[in-house]
């Protein structure tokens, strides 16, 4: 080691030590393979998936168990019960797309309800969520294994797209979408990367909450940002448990418009439900395998 090396190391250490924190996970801006909208040639390349999201939003709770479609897809008698936590998440969105040409989507919804049942106890972690859209259609997802290490994922039904889309091409999904949602809102603390101080307050249901806030610059068009997209996320968390009670994501698409998505956990309690709630009969397998998450290697299903 000579003097020059030492000095270069000092310079590099200065740069490395003062590096900023990463922005929150930006991946939810990437639309899954589900085809969003057709892209007429006259449209700009940019799609404001002003909406994209919605998937997850929300659905029907206990009613689900009375739903004949669910029961008919389950094998055998539903005599056994399992202990779960049951959460209800209400989802709503407003959008103000300023694009000249709007495209119809197959979703046409701005609100939904999601029920999430998560098995508790020593059994293999298991979660089911069901989104119910205003037209009565549903989208179900069952996750086996943990959130970060799912061993299998099954889906049934079609996730929907939101009502307003601009542009064409389809490469953007607004953040709070839900297509990739594998957990309930309360347990979803992984996206809390507050960039400012917390403060006390109330959520939209008047519940006491600790408010966290984060902003991020995101983009979706490739190696260089060509259309600026800003995210502004506010979490209302339970002051004692830290659970997320409500999340509001405001996404501003430069020159196009703004989308505001609100997800509110309206109910959360322990319950006993028929064990066929986790039956995967009639579901499509979308993932099987032990997805180890490491920094150097990840198995591909």
């Amino acid at each position: 080691m000579n003097t020059l090396d030492d000095r270069i190391r000092d310079v590099v250490q200065t740069i490395g030590r003062t590096a900023h924190d990463p922005v929150p996970y930006p991946g939810r801006l990437v639309l899954p393979d589900t085809k969003p909208v057709a892209s007429p040639p006259r449209r700009p390349k940019l799609l404001v998936g002003l909406a994209g999201c919605a998937l997850i939003a929300a659905i029907v709770a206990a009613v689900v168990f009375l739903d004949s479609g669910v029961r008919s897809s389950s094998p055998g008698p539903a005599s056994a019960t399992v202990a779960v936590t049951h959460e209800v998440v209400r989802y709503s969105r407003t959008a103000d797309p300023g694009c000249a040409a709007r495209e119809p989507s197959d979703g046409t919804f701005d609100e939904a309800r999601t029920d999430i049942w998560e098995r508790v106890g020593p059994a293999t972690p298991e979660l089911r969520l069901q989104v119910r859209y205003p037209d009565g259609s549903t989208y179900d997802l069952i996750r086996q294994g943990t959130v970060s290490r799912p061993t299998a994922i099954y889906t049934r039904g079609q996730p929907r797209l939101p009502a307003d889309n601009c542009g064409g091409g389809g490469s953007v999904q607004t953040p709070d979408a839900g297509l990739g949602m594998f957990a309930g809102l309360r347990r979803d603390s992984s996206y809390q990367h507050a960039t400012g101080p917390s403060e006390p307050g109330l959520d939209s249901l008047g519940r006491p909450a600790t408010i966290l806030h984060a902003t991020a610059l995101v983009s979706y068009t490739g190696p260089v940002i060509t259309n600026r997209v800003d995210d502004d996320t506010t979490w209302y968390t339970d002051p004692e448990s830290g659970d997320v009670l409500e999340r509001i994501v405001t996404t501003r698409y430069d020159g196009i418009g703004t989308v505001v998505q609100r997800s509110t956990s309206t109910d959360y309690q322990n319950a006993e439900v028929p064990d066929d709630v986790f039956s995967t009969n009639g579901y499509e397998t979308v993932h099987i395998g032990d997805t180890a998450v490491t920094t150097t290697s990840t198995s591909t299903p």
Binding site: L4, D5, G16, H20, S148, G180, T296
Partner: protein, 153 residues
């Protein structure tokens, strides 16, 4: 691959990638370069088939950083011509003459210097990580040291 898995990979690797990118484009733009690189890879066949996401991300960040620097150079030139303001420093914590020396390095030279002196990686490991030859790494490192010697020696 699930979004949760992608999320976990991002959270695991993003901090070191941001440090790496800071050594190339400066601290202010580094988080955006990394996020952009990540988004650019998600869903691609390359991403789903690779068994080394970390290396893939390093290469993509370097690639995006080069593009970013070109755009930044053009922006600074415009600002200087218009005398709008003195462009913000990309390396605010370095002495100005040292920051200038770093700026004179190519993006690849900056990358090699950072990986050598921050991560203590050998030329062979850096070559593997960035998918270039070991000779290229050694050459870039030597040229960078010559440039930095002018202000640090």
């Amino acid at each position: 691959m699930s979004e949760r898995t992608d999320d976990a990979i991002y959270r695991a690797v993003a901090p070191e990638l941001v440090r790496f990118a800071s050594g190339i484009v400066g601290q202010a733009d580094a988080p955006d370069v990394v996020a952009d690189a990540f988004v650019g890879l998600l869903g691609t066949e390359l991403w789903t088939r690779t068994d080394n996401h970390r290396a893939l991300l390093y290469r993509r960040v370097l690639l995006d950083a080069k593009t970013w620097l070109r755009a930044a150079d053009r922006r600074r030139a415009r600002e200087r011509r218009a005398a709008i303001r003195e462009p913000a420093s990309d390396f605010p914590d370095l002495e100005p003459h040292v920051a200038d020396a770093v700026r004179r390095l190519s993006p690849q030279q900056r990358a090699v210097v950072f990986l050598t002196y921050w991560d203590d990686l050998t030329p062979a490991v850096i070559a593997d990580l960035l998918d270039v030859s070991e000779g290229t790494v050694r050459k870039q490192l030597n040229r960078a040291r010559v440039e930095l010697r002018k202000v640090l020696a």
